[in-house]
Symmetry: none
Subunit: 258 residues, 2 copies
């Protein structure tokens, strides 16, 4: 990435987007964990993992923000490279950990049988990890050809996950209480909708979008997609957990009944 | 270690692996400690120690990552030594503390008699500490001969521990409830499987594997082995604790029933 292609305004805008990303992820984490004790024990694992996803994302946004700051010197009034490369790989390191986990939190909040939970978590989590691992070599490759090959390879587990979410989970979603069915469907479409952004921007360099505006759109877009897929999605998981706690008569945690 | 033997890609890949290691260990720690209150009191000691192991590992991964960053300057487009040596000893400091503890968490989650617990923890913990202490002089020695001598010495407690886990614990594992027997066996083989990596890479320098690719394989491999032996192993310990809590009718923690 050519950081000198950015104007001061673009450079600062991206930095502010990272800072916003960090603040949202950290705040979401604290929210989920602080509220965990208010929901029924059966849903605390899902809500704990929801906070784990945003916690890991908060850490990586902090690292990305630091790396962005170290990559450029703007004291002269323009964006000059310091020679320190901007580490884009933090995103992949983050996704490798968070994407399988966020699919698992969706499975967990549905409270399927133990066998179903383990089976679906393994399949979806494994496919998600494979998708990220296959995307990485293309992201760091210097040639457009390799980038495209790994885009195609990475799209295979991507399409498989979308299919699993829409078709494979249909039966499980149908068996959910009426009052949360809509929330679960929204969560599924939030994941799919925000994920569509990633394979599109991945192709940006291939179609010649490499200037300052493209870099800005890409970095800000990634940040918005991450916030939707992790923090906003997490709020839906939390709401589902709250409603199901109420339905199952466990609104008040056992500890409050003493 | 000759850090200048690495390409920028290799150097960055190792740095990302360390960051991933830190994120996994820190996330695992938070997970175990946040979920501790959800399991039966009898298993909270095991789960607390499980989180302690990953917490200590998170600290050391942070130190290793910082040391790796300070050892090289990559602003010129290639990896140049800053003169600051990369501190490999952090791994040994970490293992000296975490390896005895992770064997103890396995003993604790089996909930043996008090006498058995103390006896097995002392034997396995002591052998593990001895194994690490004997490995260190070979790791820092300049000559291949000394490296090999300490490899052999360190392998004695290593083989003893593997024997204890496979043969010595057999009776205790057989007395466990049917639904967790498989999980305990997987945990034992996770430890043994991931540990096999360490004595193999220890011999790398002896067979002339000292280039950039060997250093990368070694550092990334250590990180993966650590993640399996501490975080993944810890998740199994946690799952065993959850299932045994349920079996013993203590799904709702006792402290909440007061």
């Amino acid at each position: 990435m050519e950081i000198e292609a950015l104007s001061i305004g673009q450079y600062s805008f991206v930095q502010n987007a990272y800072s916003f990303g960090f603040a949202v992820m950290a705040a979401a984490t604290l929210f989920f964990w602080l509220m965990k004790s208010e929901i029924a024990p059966a849903y605390r694992l899902a809500v704990t993992i929801t906070g784990l996803v945003t916690a890991v994302a908060a850490y990586h946004y902090f690292q990305i923000m630091t790396s962005w700051g170290a990559a450029a010197d703007i004291t002269s009034g323009e964006v000059l490279s310091t020679g320190q490369p901007f580490n884009q790989a933090y995103r992949y390191v983050d996704w490798l950990l968070t994407v399988p986990l966020l699919l698992i939190e969706l499975i967990l909040v549905m409270r399927l049988s133990q066998q179903e939970t383990i089976k679906k978590s393994t399949i979806l989590g494994g496919a998600a990890a494979l998708m990220i691992i296959l995307g990485y070599p293309g992201e760091v490759s210097e040639t457009g050809g390799l980038r495209f090959v790994f885009w195609v390879l990475s799209m295979i587990p991507f399409v498989f996950i979308v299919h699993q979410l829409v078709v494979g989970l249909k039966g499980s979603i149908d068996s959910q209480p009426e009052s949360v069915k809509k929330l679960i469907n929204i969560s599924v479409y939030l994941v799919i909708g925000s994920w569509l952004f990633y394979p599109i921007v991945y192709l940006f360099p291939l179609v010649g979008l490499t200037g300052g505006a493209a870099i800005t759109a890409l970095e800000v877009g990634y940040t918005v997609a991450d916030i939707v897929a992790k923090a906003v999605f997490g709020v839906f998981i939390f709401m589902i957990a709250v409603r199901k706690s109420k339905l199952e008569g466990e609104t008040k945690p056992v500890s409050d009944q003493s």
